[in-house]
C-alpha cells in the first residue's frame, strides 16, 4: 500500500527543529567567524532546507522507491536501453573502500590497484572493439560521441582538412546530431530503405569531401546488422572521412564481430547497458571510447599507462583535445564493467550476445502475427514492431499497449522511436530473461490486443497514478516546490 503520509513532499513533512544529523563539537580553538570572513559574505539566514529526522527521511524514500518499476522487480523490454540484470557482486566490489574512497588527486603510488584495473579495462575494451586506443573519460554514451567527434575535428584540423559535415541515418538516436552540432559539425541525414538498412544511393549522393564523419549504429536502431557495412565504410574512407560506431547495441555482437574489424575508426561503449552498470533511475552511465591508432594522439587526457612496473596517469599528449570533464572518468561505473567482463570471460561474453539475440528472436517469432515487424522476421538483440494494423482495425495505438502492459507488471517497450516506423514498439528482452518471462510477456500482449480499445485508452488502471497531463506540465511548468507566501 502506498503510504500517503510518508510520500508527501519532504517540505510538507518538515517540522521546526527536527534534526536528521548531529555534527561533533568543534575540537579546534574556535575563531569568531567574522574574523575569518567579511560579514558581507555570510547569508543572513540559514539555508532554507526542510527539517526532518532520519526515520522521516528513510520512510519517505523507502516508500517512494516502491512506486518505481526496476530491473530488480520487473521485466523491462525497453528497446535500445539494454535493461539487463545488474549483478549484486558488482555493487559490493565497487563499494570496497579501496575503490570508492579514493581521491582523484592521490599520489600514484597510493592507487596502483585502481590504475591497474583501469589499465586492464582499457586493454579489454580495445580487444572487444578491435580498436587499440582507449579513453575512459567520457561520462555517458552521448558524451562519448561528442568526445570522439572532437577527436575527429582535432585530427582534421591537424591535417589541414576542413570538413564540416557529419552524416547519420535518419533512424539514428537524437544524440548523434546533437553531439555533432556541439562539436561544430552540420548533420546531414541519410535515408533508410524500407527494409531498414542504409540507402546506399543516398549515402553516395551525400558523401563529399566536406564529410568528416559518418555516424552509424550497428546493429542499427531497428535491430538489424548492416550487412553492407563493408561497402559503407569503404565509401566513407575513400572520401577521406572517418566512421563512428555508436556502440549502443554492442550487446548483440560481443565476441561475434568487432567494430574495428568491420572498419569503424571510433566508437563508444555504454557500460551501463552492455556491461551491466545499473541505470540509477537515469544515470550514472559512462561512455569510454575506442579509436584507431592514428587518432590516439587526440584522445582526452589523462589515460593510464604502464611502464617500469608502475601504473601512472599520462597527461603528456600535446595534440590531445584536453579534458571533457573534471577528473578521470566515471570510475564507479567502470569498476562494475570490469567486474562484469572478468565474470564472463571470452566465452561468456559471446554467450551474452547469443542469448540476447536468441531471446529477441524468440519474442519476435511469438508476437509478429499480432505486432508485425516491417523489417523482417529475424533480428539481432532487439526488433521494432508496429501497431499500425491494430490502430487501423481496432483503434489500439502503441501507446495504449505500452500503458496497458504496466497493469500486468511489465515495463513498456520503447514506443514511437525510431520515428521511421509508424506506431513503433521497440522490444529488447536482453539475455538475462528466462523463457518463462518471455512467454508470459508474449501472452500478455495477445491478451491486451484482444481487449476493448476503450479500456486500453484509459490504461494503466492499477498503477498509483493514471496517465499524467503532459500538456499542462509543459504549458505551465511547475518545476519546484515553493514555500508558501
Amino acid at each position: 500500500m502506498r503510504n500517503r503520509l510518508a510520500t508527501k513532499l519532504l517540505f510538507e513533512l518538515s517540522q521546526p527543529d527536527r534534526e536528521g544529523s548531529r555534527l561533533p563539537a568543534c575540537d579546534v580553538p574556535e575563531q569568531n567567524i567574522e574574523d575569518m570572513l567579511p560579514t558581507s559574505a555570510f547569508a543572513t539566514s540559514p539555508p532554507e532546507l526542510p527539517e526532518l529526522s532520519e526515520p522521516d527521511v528513510v520512510r519517505h524514500y523507502t516508500n517512494l522507491s516502491t512506486l518505481n518499476m526496476s530491473v530488480d522487480t520487473h521485466f523491462y523490454p525497453l528497446g535500445s536501453c539494454t535493461m539487463k540484470y545488474n549483478p549484486k557482486r558488482n555493487e559490493r566490489l565497487a563499494a570496497l573502500p579501496g575503490f570508492s574512497e579514493l581521491h582523484p588527486f592521490q599520489p600514484e603510488e597510493t592507487i596502483q590497484g585502481m590504475l591497474q584495473l583501469l589499465h586492464e579495462l582499457q586493454q579489454m575494451l580495445a580487444e572487444i572493439s578491435g580498436l587499440p586506443a582507449v579513453s575512459l573519460q567520457p561520462a555517458a554514451g552521448a558524451h562519448g560521441e561528442l568526445t570522439a567527434l572532437m577527436v575527429a575535428a582535432a585530427y582534421f584540423r591537424d591535417n589541414n582538412q576542413r570538413r564540416t559535415k557529419v552524416l547519420a541515418p535518419d533512424s539514428a538516436h537524437g544524440t548523434n546530431p546533437a553531439s555533432a552540432a556541439m562539436a561544430g559539425f552540420e548533420t546531414i541525414a541519410i535515408k533508410s530503405l524500407p527494409s531498414g538498412y542504409v540507402d546506399m544511393r543516398d549515402l553516395h549522393n551525400k558523401l563529399d569531401d566536406q564529410v568528416g564523419v559518418l555516424m552509424i549504429t550497428n546493429p542499427n536502431t531497428l535491430g538489424l546488422f548492416e550487412s553492407e557495412i563493408g561497402q559503407i565504410v569503404n565509401a566513407v574512407h575513400e572520401r577521406g572521412g572517418l566512421v563512428y560506431l555508436d556502440g549502443a547495441n554492442m550487446n548483440a555482437i560481443l565476441g561475434m564481430t568487432r567494430p574495428g574489424d568491420f572498419g569503424a575508426d571510433m566508437m563508444h561503449f555504454n557500460p551501463h547497458k552492455t556491461f551491466s552498470g545499473p541505470h540509477g533511475g537515469g544515470g550514472p552511465g559512462a561512455g569510454p571510447i575506442c579509436v584507431v591508432d592514428f587518432l590516439q594522439p587526440y584522445l582526452p587526457v589523462p589515460n593510464v599507462v604502464h611502464d617500469q612496473d608502475l601504473y601512472r596517469l599520462d597527461f603528456d599528449r600535446p595534440k590531445s583535445i584536453g579534458q571533457v570533464r573534471s577528473f578521470f572518468g566515471n570510475v564507479g561505473v567502470l569498476v562494475r564493467a570490469y567486474a562484469y567482463i572478468r565474470t564472463h570471460g571470452p566465452d561468456g561474453l559471446k554467450q551474452v550476445a547469443q542469448n540476447a539475440v536468441l531471446n529477441a528472436n524468440y519474442v519476435l517469432s511469438r508476437v509478429r502475427h499480432i505486432l508485425p515487424v516491417p523489417q523482417g522476421n529475424r533480428c539481432m538483440h532487439e526488433f521494432v514492431a508496429t501497431a499500425s494494423q491494430l490502430k487501423n482495425d481496432k483503434g489500439i495505438s502503441a501507446m495504449d499497449i505500452a500503458k496497458r502492459l504496466l497493469d500486468f507488471g511489465f515495463h513498456a517497450p520503447t514506443v514511437y522511436f525510431p520515428t521511421t516506423v509508424a506506431e513503433s514498439m521497440m522490444i529488447e528482452p536482453t539475455e538475462t530473461e528466462s523463457r518463462t518471462t518471455l512467454d508470459a510477456f508474449a501472452e500478455t500482449l495477445f491478451r491486451i490486443t484482444d481487449e476493448p480499445s476503450e479500456l486500453l485508452h484509459e490504461a494503466p488502471h492499477s498503477t498509483w497514478i493514471s496517465r499524467p497531463n503532459e500538456v499542462q506540465a509543459a504549458r505551465h511548468p511547475v518545476t519546484r516546490w515553493k514555500p508558501a507566501g
Partner: protein, 130 residues
C-alpha cells in the same frame, strides 16, 4: 481578418499586407489547418522586435509536448511588433488564428517573397491534397 482574403505560405503561415506611413507592413500568423495539425500547443517562441528576417528563414517556433515546428518568414523585412499576449493565451492560436492569434508584424524591405505566396483557394487545395 477574413481568412479568404489572406495570402499563405506553403509552410502554413498566413500573411496580411497593409500600408502604413508609406511602409508595407505584413501581419503574420499560423493557419487554422496547421494549428489543428500541431495539436496541444504548449509554447510559442516569438521573434524579437528589430530582428531582420529573410524569406524562408525561421523566425520563431511553436512547440507541442513532443514536437517543435519552426515558423518561417514568408517575406524579407524587419520585425516591428510581436503578439506578446500569446505567451499567456496560446489558446488564441486555435480559437482565433486569423485575429487574436496573430504572431508578428514585419515591415517589408523587399517584396520578392510575395510572388510565391498562395491565395486562400490554392492553399486550401494544398492542404486537402495532403
Amino acid at each position: 481578418m477574413n481568412h479568404e482574403e489572406l495570402l499563405y505560405a506553403e509552410t502554413h503561415e498566413w500573411l496580411h499586407l497593409a500600408e502604413q506611413n508609406g511602409d508595407k507592413i505584413a501581419t503574420i500568423g499560423i493557419s487554422a489547418f496547421a494549428v489543428e495539425a500541431l495539436t496541444d500547443l504548449v509554447y510559442i517562441q516569438l521573434p524579437e522586435i528589430g530582428q531582420k528576417v529573410a524569406v524562408g528563414e525561421s523566425f520563431g517556433e511553436v512547440e507541442s509536448v513532443k514536437a517543435v515546428s519552426d515558423l518561417y518568414s514568408p517575406i524579407e523585412g524587419e520585425v516591428i511588433e510581436v503578439n506578446e499576449s500569446l505567451a499567456d493565451d496560446l489558446e488564441a492560436l486555435s480559437t482565433d488564428p486569423y485575429g487574436k492569434g496573430w504572431v508578428a508584424k514585419i515591415k517589408l524591405t523587399d517584396e520578392g517573397g510575395l510572388a510565391d505566396l498562395l491565395d486562400a483557394d490554392s492553399y486550401q487545395k494544398q492542404c486537402s491534397d495532403g
